[in-house]
């Protein structure tokens, strides 16, 4: 005997009904929770930038952000300006704006600029906006924090790198969307991020070289800060290559800004 649920008509109705119920449930949840979620993401960006500046609640071994309650105030008081550099697709600087100039033009905070969208725009031959956050780090030293974005093994990886005026790294924060737990996901662990501190992005001659995440660089303690290399994570080669690539591709674009800065200082 055929059961009621075996009929074709029942199957079709069930499928349609289930899609409608599940679809509207998820759509309802997503739209009600959206304001909360974007607020969380906004605060996280502030925490990331502050982390790279050394303003965090780190204990001895683990990376801890400054709390979400304190983040907005710390962000306002530590980040003195948010510069936006506009370049064309060849990397030529078109204009440089302060936070206020940019905000008046677009009504958007520079730290909310979507790096991924800017990369895509430059790839299509358009302009690209490069945000740069200027402020004093926890030691009172002037640092410049730049956001970077790239690809890991499975999905997106991104980060914030704080540099001094000679493009020497003063702090770094990395994060990822879906790298393998225990391997590639460890780019957000202290033992990896801390290695970048003090590394030079430029060669001795002042040319831009970036920092390579290198296997077997015979410097596991990372004492050599001018070799443009940090020690890789075992079992996470492709994620490490992704980190090297995003540092190289994105931070290179800021070189003219730092050249200019030096010229002005002299």
């Amino acid at each position: 005997m055929e059961k009621r649920t075996d009929k074709n008509s029942y199957t079709v109705i069930f499928a349609i009904g289930m899609v409608l119920v599940v679809g509207s449930l998820l759509a309802y949840l997503a739209s009600t929770l959206k304001p909360r979620i974007s607020e969380n993401q906004r605060l996280e960006k502030q925490q990331n930038i502050l982390y790279a500046m050394g303003i965090n609640d780190n204990d001895e071994t683990s990376a801890v952000f400054i709390s979400t309650e304190k983040a907005p105030e710390a962000f306002t008081s530590n980040v003195q300006d948010q510069i936006v550099i506009t370049i064309d697709s060849n990397g030529k600087v078109l204009k440089e704006q302060t936070r206020d100039e940019y905000f008046n033009e677009t009504n958007q905070e520079p730290y909310l600029i979507d790096v991924k969208k800017q990369q895509a725009s430059a790839k299509d031959g358009g302009e690209r906006k490069l945000p740069l956050f200027v402020g004093k780090n926890k030691d009172g030293k002037m640092v410049y924090v730049a956001p970077i974005y790239g690809k890991g093994l499975w999905d997106a990886i991104w980060g914030y790198v704080a540099m001094d005026e000679n493009m020497v790294v003063q702090g770094a924060y990395f994060d990822h969307k879906g790298e393998t737990p225990g391997l590639g996901a460890n780019i957000k662990q202290r033992y990896f991020m801390d290695d970048f501190y003090g590394e030079h992005l430029l060669t001795e001659n002042g040319a831009f070289k970036g920092i390579t995440v290198a296997k077997g660089n015979a410097d596991p303690k990372n004492n050599d800060k001018t070799d443009n290399e940090v020690d890789a994570i075992a079992g996470a080669t492709i994620t490490g290559d992704g980190v090297s690539a995003m540092i190289k591709n994105d931070l290179k674009l800021y070189k003219p800004f730092f050249d200019n800065l030096k010229k002005q200082a002299n």
């Binding site: 909360r36 071994t61 737990p181």
Partner: protein, 214 residues
């Protein structure tokens, strides 16, 4: 156990050993390979699967009389995916830090064949309470293996447990490392998880001959 009848209790205890989802049913191997390089990731994954299996089995069991058999697999997939996405969204809104730790596991949970396997093999034919127990039992069986594999891979691969160095410092050459011990980088790669699971299967079948198939 006063709370559970003998038959019900077996639903929880069986998957822990003699009907273990990984070593006997050979399900959920993919996630066992992917996330056992560290003990902590194994534990987080175990807890997530415990939750999804418990709730998912109950939902499927409640729907078992209205799901058309022709599209039951897709219906099951939708239930798992919906559950996981709801949890992910709610965590993102109310426990953002936690959601970031868990976000990498979302894809692994949806595609975990233990979950689909238990929906198909058990929840579609049994009542909600028994399905709930079956889900919890299988998730615990999965957790046991994951934690054993994670323990050995992290200990032998990185010399740490839950991120804490237990064998000394490999760079400063203290502890075990002072007498020439080295971390085995192989343990961090996925194939070694398969070998550890293989050893567990071997030990288990040597101790219980009834499990050996001819």
């Amino acid at each position: 156990m006063g709370l559970l009848s003998k038959k019900d209790a077996k639903l929880i205890t069986d998957p822990l050993a003699d009907n273990n989802p990984i070593t006997i049913q050979v399900l959920g191997i993919c996630s066992a390979l992917a996330i056992t390089a560290e003990l902590e990731a194994s534990i987080v994954m175990s807890i997530s699967v415990l939750f999804v299996m418990g709730v998912g089995n109950v939902v499927i069991s409640l729907m078992r009389n209205i799901i058309p058999s022709k599209i039951r697999i897709i219906a099951q997939l939708i239930v798992v995916a919906t559950l996981v996405i709801i949890v992910d969204l709610v965590l993102k809104a109310f426990a953002y830090e936690l959601s970031k730790t868990l976000s990498v596991f979302v894809g692994l949970i949806i595609t975990n064949c233990i979950i689909m396997g238990r929906f198909e093999a058990f929840a579609l034919g049994n009542g909600p309470w028994r399905s709930f127990l079956d889900g919890i039992g299988n998730a615990l069986g999965y957790a046991v293996i994951l934690i054993i594999v994670g323990f050995f891979r992290e200990l032998l691969g990185s010399g740490t447990l839950l991120g804490i160095p237990v064998l000394g410092d490999p760079i400063e050459k203290t502890g075990l490392y002072s007498i020439g011990y080295e971390n085995n980088g192989f343990m961090l790669l996925s194939p070694m998880a398969l070998i550890v699971v293989g050893i567990i299967i071997w030990v288990q079948r040597t101790r219980n001959k009834a499990l050996v198939e001819d």
